[in-house]
């Protein structure tokens, strides 16, 4: 944690560096919003006053005020009055961060990332089915959640760990590292639809099919279950993308 704070303070000074004359309320707003969404400004952090903010960023007080009004409207900042009052950072829910990222992505980029994810993960499933020993696959049953599990966070973590485990079963460190990268990058987006009960049920079925295929050493079935899952998730994600982009 100490290490994270050290980089944060450097990132903080960049945020509060003068923004220049053409800096208008929108630019102030965007810079602060980005810092809040990325976690550089943490939940509960006190923001400088309007006057201080204006001086630090080199903009008029009215511009800083305008930006704060907009951040308040987005729910990213709360202002309290009286002694000990001021403007404080309100960190968005993790799901909102992901949706925020989705909103900045084009349809082409989404498809591009999904293609890479799909090829890497289906390839891992094939190799894992060839190479995994029965006792190694047995361990994966712990990652199959009961159909009535309603904790979306648990579904997301379990699915991420299932795919990482499948990557590790290829016995290739490079492939596994690539999947770690993919999970941190695209995996979080791909798990947005897990908030829907129907999608969770379908996912659970495909994950069970994947583990059964790995147990049986069935390369084609392992591939199919991952491919179907990624395709379905991307399909739902594209629909959600359409909504958040509008």
């Amino acid at each position: 944690m100490a290490k994270a704070r050290a980089t944060t303070s450097r990132a903080r000074s960049a945020i509060f560096a003068p923004i220049g004359d053409e800096g208008r309320a929108v630019r102030v707003e965007n810079r602060l919003a980005e810092a809040i969404r990325s976690g550089v400004l943490a939940d509960g952090d006190r923001l400088p006053s309007e006057l201080e903010l204006a001086q630090m960023l080199g903009v008029a007080t009215v511009t800083a005020r305008e930006a704060l009004v907009s951040l308040r409207a987005q729910g990213l900042v709360v202002t309290t009055r009286g002694r000990g009052g001021g403007s404080f950072v309100r960190a968005p829910e993790p799901g909102d961060v992901v949706k925020g990222r989705l909103a900045t992505m084009s349809r082409v980029e989404l498809r591009d990332r999904a293609s890479l994810y799909q090829v890497v993960l289906t390839g891992c499933a094939e190799l894992a089915a060839e190479r995994a020993a029965p006792d190694e696959v047995e361990d994966l049953h712990d990652l199959l959640l009961p159909a009535d599990e309603e904790d979306v966070g648990r579904w997301r973590d379990a699915e991420s760990e299932l795919y990482l485990s499948v990557a590790a079963l290829t016995q290739s460190a490079r492939l596994t590292r690539e999947v770690v990268r993919q999970e941190a990058d695209f995996g979080t987006l791909l798990r947005v639809p897990l908030s829907e009960s129907d999608f969770r049920q379908a996912s659970g079925g495909r994950h069970r099919a994947l583990v059964a295929a790995l147990e049986a050493g069935d390369v084609a079935a392992a591939r199919t279950s991952v491919r179907d899952h990624v395709a379905h998730a991307v399909e739902r994600l594209t629909e959600i993308h359409e909504v958040v982009r509008q």
Binding site: R131, D139, Q171, A173, G187, R191
Partner: protein, 233 residues
């Protein structure tokens, strides 16, 4: 071909893994004493084991090492890895699920689960460790108890690449393969026997319950695969 030239391999294996075992036993004593003295926090645990672990990790043939707690053994955290690894001997603390940042539960990993179940020293792998190093490793772990309760495992990682460099010359001489307790190839003189491949199917334990075995490959004309040496011997 009947001359036993695997002696050199046995010596090298003992030198490396014997040193690991000696260190894990030392750490076991240290950690058991700490837990016997009352409730322990994550900071107290790290402070206790850091000096000894970092000293031990001066051996460049080790990838990482430390102490990993059993769930709820500490007073302030459920899961914790007092673990140092990599070239910079970086401190780990906790493992995260990529993307979500949630704490990853390592207790289902064989390096934790097997010694938890058997109560004995274990060598897990070869496997790709996505919890700690993201490398292809063998993990040696020793369970540690305090007050009759498992408080965690003392462990050390060895990269498979390190073992290949260390053992391939002597394995070639002996025409042999280093095999894990689950019958997986670790390093082989035979280039067609890939690391991670199952040499013996379904065997749970190596000969005589050994954690590592040096087995002649290919098997003799009568089909019997001769075990040349093992560890612990």
């Amino acid at each position: 071909m009947n001359i036993d030239v695997s002696g050199d391999c046995a010596v090298r294996i003992e030198r490396h893994f014997g040193a690991i075992l000696a260190e894990l036993e030392r750490m076991r004593t240290e950690v058991a004493a700490l837990f016997a003295s009352g409730p322990v926090t994550s900071d107290e645990l790290s402070a206790q084991v850091e000096a000894g672990t970092v000293e031990f990790l001066q051996d460049p043939n080790l990838l990482g090492g430390g102490f990993v707690v059993a769930p709820d053994a500490l007073s302030d955290r459920r899961l914790y890895l007092a673990w140092w690894q990599g070239a910079g001997r970086d401190f780990l603390g906790e493992a995260e699920v990529p993307g979500t940042g949630e704490t990853m539960d390592y207790t289902r990993q064989p390096w934790f689960r097997v010694p938890e179940r058997t109560g004995r020293l274990n060598v897990a792998g070869p496997y790709v460790d996505f919890v700690c190093t993201d490398e292809y490793v063998l993990t040696t772990t020793l369970p540690v108890y305090a007050g009759g309760r498992l408080v965690g495992v003392a462990g050390a990682d060895t990269a498979v690449e390190t073992l290949e460099r260390m053992l391939l010359p002597c394995l070639r001489e002996a025409q042999a393969t280093l095999v894990s307790s689950t019958g997986r190839v670790v390093v082989s003189a035979d280039p067609h026997l890939a690391t991670g491949e199952a040499l013996t199917s379904g065997r749970k334990e190596g000969p005589d319950g050994r954690l590592l075995s040096v087995v002649q490959t290919p098997p003799a004309a009568d089909g019997a695969s001769r075990t040349l040496s093992g560890w612990p011997s």
